[in-house]
């Protein structure tokens, strides 16, 4: 059984560099101790500032919290998959359980013998023959020499590389190397098996063999914790999935549900990445994604990262069109706005309309300290299924045509609906707002 309680783990990037030296540590120590002893005020010498600045440039904060307040209990016999994007803390969690890393705070109780299969063949030495490496690597994994001798033939047969056992492993192909490493590793007999991305080994025939071996572990009621990106495997094999997102558990439950949530996140992130020139970006649009019909979406709220120019984008069932609410305080926009729809290539203006701003009368905004204007845009529901570009241009007496909003619009057409507006894809703001 594994029990984690409010585990926190952070890494200090200042020390993660390869070249952190005694000299630096000594200078730092000397500097602070002299300062402390009030001999010399050396705390902020200029060259040292540069050193710290250099570090700051590398990352905004030198301390990154990799795992935040993780609590979980894994019972005996569970097959748990940990999924999440790169850098979300999966491997760190696994290494904490393996006892390689140590938590900063929190309590961890582990009951049972652990075999970490984090990287196969870590103990292989390139100069040695496969035979010798089987023995040394097996011992590193905690197997006895006698046991290895007994199982040697079986290990070699499983790897399927009999004729290479006396050649040094440096001449092995990477496939052979991994097969041998895996064949040794599956002989472990732990209570808890930690697996990190090692299942994609060899050809399909070998993978089949591996899968069988792992199924055996599963049927022997061993606890298996698996880190993987292979969602098919997760769905078909795991009994429970933990989805980590930037160091926090966002979902813990059945595989089908977890992979769905994860897939959705990945897709929306990808969309965001594709539209890399986005300046304002909205965190998530759950309502929009679930809406089927034009006009069903009642409110879309997002946070703008920089200039909070457009607070709310919404689709209202009462009157078709796109409604945007602007914060008047943050940006002074002219009362006359031009609403312009362009084709995908931004070459043809499909239509253009002057619209006027009016003060919003929404209750949800009334207690806000900002003043909002609401922009009602023309009905877009008759548009053909295509991708469009949408511009909102502000015209004041001082400035001529400042683009205050720019995003692209994808219209889906279904037989039973006029269209689905699939927003947020690209909301770019050109930030030359009038002063």
């Amino acid at each position: 059984m594994i029990n984690l309680e409010r585990i926190n783990k952070s890494f200090d990037l200042r020390y993660q560099r390869d070249d952190f030296t005694l000299k630096e540590a000594f200078v730092r120590f000397l500097r602070y101790s002299l300062h402390w002893l009030k001999f010399v005020d050396l705390r902020e010498p200029p060259q040292y500032e540069n050193f710290d600045q250099k570090l700051e440039q590398e990352s905004s904060s030198p301390i990154i919290n990799v795992l935040k307040n993780i609590s979980l209990t894994i019972d005996r016999g569970e097959t748990v998959a940990i999924i999440g994007r790169n850098g979300c803390g999966k491997s760190t969690l696994l290494k904490l359980i393996a006892g390689i890393y140590f938590q900063d705070s929190g309590k961890m109780e582990i009951d049972g013998r652990i075999s970490p299969l984090i990287e196969l063949g870590a103990g292989f030495h390139p100069e040695f023959s496969g035979r010798e490496n089987v023995f040394v690597n097996g011992q590193i994994l905690g197997l006895s020499k006698a046991y290895l001798k007994k199982r040697y033939e079986e290990i070699v047969e499983f790897a399927g590389i009999e004729q290479f056992m006396d050649s040094p492993v440096r001449v092995y192909s990477s496939g052979m190397y991994m097969r041998l490493a895996f064949s040794v590793a599956v002989n472990v007999d732990p209570d808890i098996l930690l697996i990190d991305e090692i299942l994609g080994v060899g050809d399909s025939d070998f993978q089949h063999k591996c899968q069988k071996k792992l199924d055996e572990f599963k049927s022997e009621k061993k606890t298996i914790i698996l880190v993987t990106h292979d969602l098919d495997k997760v769905r078909s094999w795991a009994t429970r999935v933990i989805y980590l997102k930037s160091g926090e558990i966002v979902f813990d439950g059945p595989p089908a549900e977890a992979t769905k949530i994860y897939q959705k996140d990945v897709d929306s992130e990808r969309q965001k990445d594709d539209l890399s020139d986005t300046q304002i970006f909205f965190s998530s649009y759950p309502e929009l994604e679930s809406s089927v019909k034009w006009g069903k979406v009642s409110q879309v709220e997002g946070q703008t990262s920089e200039e909070k120019m457009c607070k709310i984008l919404e689709l209202n069932p009462e009157y078709p069109g796109l409604h945007m609410v602007f914060d008047h305080r943050i940006i002074s926009i002219g009362e006359n706005l031009i609403f312009r729809l362009l084709n995908k290539e931004e070459t043809i203006t499909l239509f253009e309309k002057n619209v006027t701003l009016r003060v919003s009368s929404y209750e949800s905004l009334s207690n806000s300290e900002n003043e909002f204007y609401k922009l009602d845009c023309p009905d877009l529901s008759n548009l053909a299924q295509e991708e469009y570009h949408l511009l909102v241009i502000s015209q004041t007496t001082h400035h001529q045509g400042i683009i205050i909003l720019k995003f692209n619009l994808i219209i889906h057409q279904d037989e039973n609906q006029r269209g689905l507006i699939n927003l947020p894809f690209k909301i770019g703001v050109q930030n030359d707002s009038p002063v």
């Binding site: 070249d19 952190f20 005694l22 540590a25 390689i100 890393y101 140590f102 970490p116 030495h125």
Partner: protein
């Protein structure tokens, strides 16, 4: 931080559990060192032999040292010194060099300094027959006093481990420790009676140099295998005391850094 006693109990427990791994790694290290080279295991002997020839030529013909069987003395010193300096130099780098085994195979980092010491003293043991063969060849038959090596070598190993344990952990955190140790061990070589018997020095200097545990080890080694007498008990006790002091310091270093080693390498 875990209490000192509790921490050490756990540490020794986990190291004891992996004693076979340490042994297997040390044996592998020895095999690696001489594998693939043309002369095979003979290389073990070549380096001290060549050094011995150089020192003998330099000191007997240029400095006119007139100690009988000087070449045997130098040879015995070089063998011991090679083990000591090998421990220091490899010790400083050993944790960093085995990053994969620590962060991927979850081996506790502290096994590597042990492996280093074990490797170098096994190597020393393997070269001893050569030393005795060589001294026979030069007309100096080995005495029973050489049997003192049976407890001298374990003492030397414990002493080296007491230093290397701390150095290896510090070396994982501060990369320049490796260079520092390299340079220091080179400098130490001249303060150590390898190329000269300590008795040729002025009395006062002898006393100062004998404070160094490395000098003590070399001296005891020479007494056992070259001079053929009972090891000076005063020196022996001094070395043992040093070992205790260093092992405490090293364990304190290990306890302080233990939880962060895997992250820093």
């Amino acid at each position: 931080m875990t209490p000192l006693f509790e921490f050490n109990r756990k540490l020794f427990g986990s190291l004891y559990q992996r004693r076979r791994i340490i042994w297997a790694l040390a044996i592998r290290e020895l095999k690696v060192r001489y594998k693939g080279s043309l002369l095979g295991f003979f290389w073990t002997f070549m380096n001290p032999l060549i050094l011995m020839v150089i020192y003998s030529v330099v000191f007997t013909s240029i400095f006119k040292t007139n100690i009988s069987h000087y070449e045997v003395y130098v040879f015995s010193g070089i063998l011991m010194w090679n083990a000591i300096s090998g421990c220091l130099n490899d010790g400083a780098a050993c944790i960093v060099q085995n990053t994969a085994l620590i962060t991927k195979a979850a081996l506790p980092p502290e096994i590597f300094p042990i492996k280093v010491v074990l490797t170098h003293f096994l190597n020393y043991l393997l070269t001893l027959p050569l030393l005795f063969g060589f001294s026979l060849l030069r007309g100096l038959s080995p005495t029973f006093y050489s049997l003192q090596l049976f407890f001298l070598i374990p003492i030397a190993m414990f002493f080296m481990l007491s230093i290397v344990l701390g150095i290896s952990v510090l070396g994982a955190f501060y990369r320049d420790i490796q260079y520092l140790v390299n340079t220091l061990s080179f400098a130490l070589f001249f303060t150590i009676p390898v190329t000269y018997p300590i008795s040729i020095l002025p009395e006062k200097l002898q006393k100062v140099l004998m404070l160094s545990p490395l000098t003590q080890l070399i001296q005891m080694n020479a007494e056992a295998v070259f001079f053929g007498k009972i090891i000076n008990t005063g020196i022996l006790i001094a070395t043992l005391c040093m070992t205790v002091i260093f092992i405490i310091i090293s364990l304190m270093i290990v306890r302080k850094f233990h939880t962060r080693i895997a992250e820093r390498i």
